[in-house]
Amino acid sequence: MSTAPNEQSRSRGKAPAGERVADWADGRLGIYSLAKANMRKIFPDHWSFMLGEVCMYSFIIIILTGVYLTLFFHPSMNEVEYHGSYVPMQGQLMSEAFNSTLHISFDVRGGLLIRQIHHWGAVVFLAGMFVHMMRVFFTGAFRKPREVNWLFGFLLFVLGMFTGFTGYSLPDDLLSGTGVRIAEGLVLSVPIVGTYISFFLFGGEFPGHDFVARFYSIHILLLPGIMLGLMVAHLILVFYHKHTQFAGPGKTEKNVVGMPLLPVYMAKAGGFFFLVFGVLAVLAAVAQINPIWAMGPYRPDQVSTGAQPDWYMGFSEGFVRVMPGWEINVAGHTLVLGVLIPLIVFGLMLVSIAVYPFIESWITGDKREHHILDRPRNAPTRTALGVAWLTFFAMAMVGGGNDLWATHFHLSVNSVTYFVRIFLFAGPVIAYIVTKRICLGLQRRDREKVLHGRETGIIKRLPHGEFIEVHEPLSQEQLHTLTAHEQYTPAEIGPTVDENGVERKVPASQKLRAKLSNAYYGEHAQIPKPRAEEYKEITSGHGHH
């Protein structure tokens, strides 16, 4: 505490109100040290960095609209007769959950709008996370020191899927009830404990009287609570690690180049919240989503065709649809492989996302920090694996909508199913090979550009009649950018027999690692980037050819 009179008078009289409030807060919360580090924090600029923002903002919008919906929604399965303003359902028996959702949609002013923003927000949230994860994956942003943040993001995605599922099941309409029934069938397939889990989940037999209330507390409290914590942790780590950036002039592993939080990113990112919210509001105004009044209340003995889950659950639906109906009956017990295997594959698909960074870092053995992003072409094997995963996902999605493919394109639903059964396996293999070829082709093109310059399209005729195309040498910036990436050399096991002829034991894990490393960084897996000597030899001697 300073007691200098001039200072005191300054803080009492002359300082602007905002400054005095800030001083007051700093004295209690220590906000100045926080602001010192973050107010002018630098964020690099790239369009793909906004994908994560889409997720964060749609999550906030979902929470805001979701709180509003809880003011009107009744999470109860008590049967009531409908007497609201939607005429076609007058007098029909339905659960209170369905009844109150109709009430929100038809009788609460703006209720339908908020419901539709909430559902569209969820669809966009999951899509945003999906694309954001693709960005992080294909640019290698998951590498040290960001592996833990990758896991946080992965958990947000998986929890988001289940929050979405429990959310769209709440209205207790015919479509979502069918989805819950399918989920129950999946649970029943679990060996030994499946039947018990199902009875504990539904409070007895399906559908029972409990699941809406239980899904409600999971949907509005348990999962979003965890997700909120994870999102805050995710953001803290983004701040702490500082943002990644693409290679380019002036950008190194030891700096971060961009514009400051205050004012540019405050305005851009803050403005982006309103852009996302605005787009969702317009979507909710013009694009109907989940019209539960067209489906009616849930009855376990009724169903409609074209029953699809929300998009992010579509791939799991695909596994369930294309799996052959294998069932093993042994000693009075049934192993329902036809349902259990899709459930396991669904889990493995997700787990593969979580573990990938650790597998790759084990293969490279690289323990350094990486802040410069890879261009996808410069990591051909990783890129190809990612595209193979996406192809598997997409094929499963086709399987999940096999009836829609059949009706829209006048195909036999059986043929679509057989197609998916084959291409669920063949598709990713083809995608892997094609992607790797494309990556290597692009690497060759970069190499060509660095060594021989850019094709200008100008054709020059030489005195003796020969036509040549003029190549323009790249600028220093471009040369640097195209050669900034690192190339690993494949890990070697070394000789297994030493000079005395004694055999050295090589653990199987090391052999596997060497094999994988060769697949990732061997001769056929990357094009050597141009070396300075090559460049000098070509450019100094006889000019371009």
Binding site: I42, L93, R109, L112, L113, T178, L188, V193, T195, Y196, S198, F199, L201, G203, G204, G208, H241, K242, P249, G250, T252, E253, K254, N255, V256, V257, M259, P260, P263, A267, K268, G271, F274, G278, V282, A284, A285, V286, P300, D301, S304, G306, V320, V322, G325, E327, G332, T334, V336, G338, E369, I372, D403, T417, V450, Q476, E477, H480, T483, A484
Partner: protein
């Protein structure tokens, strides 16, 4: 902690040149980092009139937002809830929803667009480089933390007094069991509930739509009829649970077409009754192909041949649909001759 140093390999990947170095292409390295390119001025940086135009554009967007919010309030108060309007090319919409969503959307979007335009055209776009620091602590900090921890651990006696440690682990491991026990209240044990339905000997088959008991002559060739057991009502407390198991579908076949002997035995004059609940994951089967007498589940396309014991001929279902043994009672109504002999619906571990 043998080494006090951060291993070289853990440091950030080294690049050709140190941070910020403005290197020029030289004999040594033609690919050297030339450093940050010079800042290029935008039109707004050099022309005050252009800057004014941007300012007006931003202010215009914010003004549009204000007007849209007023539009939202007016729409909320003025538009009747049940009014429908036609909007090309979307079709008929709730006027309220359309007006509220559009005005809210415009009000929000224009704030965002204004802020972004402001940032892009008027705020400084000079790129700044910030230093990074290794995430891991310096060797001194690391050593200090390790030493502190060792001292704290030693002072607690945790490692030395094994009895305390082991009993504590034991207590901590057991205490969550209380929580697990409490979960027992979530549901009753399955027992044999999945094996029984409302069907029993003498229960009449009641048409699901009309609520009337069915006679064999009510079931026409080529029709698919849904039935439930007599005495069941939509208003029953456990109607949903019971119908989830008892839902029945009835078709009439030519007795000669029935290939399965047991199916023929359990039918009545060609009328056969099967569980409507798919044996895959429990969707109600609703699609019937008259010519082939195949039924198809709309959820996952499991297809069953009703002329052959409802065996699975396509799709992910693992076993045939359970058949209900039927006959007619003294008054000529169709009746069940017992419950299903096997559990209906999806397979489960105890099914056998």
């Amino acid at each position: 902690m043998s080494s006090q140093d951060i291993p070289e390999e853990n440091l950030p990947a080294e690049q050709d040149h140190a941070h910020g170095a403005v290197a020029t292409a030289d004999e040594e390295n033609p690919f050297a980092d030339p450093g940050l390119p010079p800042h290029e001025h935008r039109i707004q940086d050099i022309d005050e009139r252009a800057a004014k135009r941007s300012e007006r554009a931003v202010a215009f967007l914010f003004t549009v937002s204000m007007l849209a919010t007023i539009g939202f309030i007016v729409s909320y108060l003025a538009i009747p809830n049940d009014k429908s309007i036609f909007v090309f090319p979307i079709g008929h919409l709730s006027a309220m929803n359309f007006a509220l969503g559009l005005t809210l959307g415009v009000a929000l979007f224009c704030i965002g667009a204004g802020a972004v335009h402001w940032a892009r055209t008027l705020m400084s776009d000079v790129e700044i480089a910030d230093d990074r620091h290794p995430i891991e602590a310096s060797p001194e900090v690391r050593a200090k933390v390790h030493a502190d921890f060792r001292q704290g651990a030693a002072e607690s006696g945790f490692g030395r007094r094994k009895l305390i440690r082991n009993t504590m682990f034991g207590a901590m491991a057991l205490v969550p069991l209380s929580g697990v026990m409490l979960l027992g209240g979530l549901g009753p044990a399955p027992k044999t509930k999945l094996r029984h339905t409302m069907w029993a000997k003498g229960k009449r088959l009641v048409n699901m739509n009309t609520g009337q008991p069915l006679r064999p002559e009510d079931v026409a060739v080529g029709s698919l009829t849904f039935a439930m057991p007599d005495g069941m009502s939509e208003h029953d407390e456990d109607f949903q649970n019971e119908i989830a198991k008892a839902a029945l579908m009835i078709v009439r076949l030519q007795p000669d077409d029935i290939k399965d002997k047991r199916e023929l035995d359990w039918s009545h004059q060609g009328v056969v009754a099967y569980s409507k609940i798919c044996t895959h994951v429990g969707c109600p089967i609703s699609l019937y192909e008259q010519q082939t007498h195949h039924v198809l589940c709309p959820c996952h396309q499991s297809t069953f041949d009703l002329t052959d014991g409802a065996r699975v001929i396509f799709g992910p279902a693992g076993h045939a649909l359970p058949q209900l043994r039927i006959g007619v009672d003294s008054e000529g109504y169709l009746q069940a001759l017992g419950d299903f002999e096997e559990p209906v619906g999806p397979a489960f571990w105890e099914r056998g």
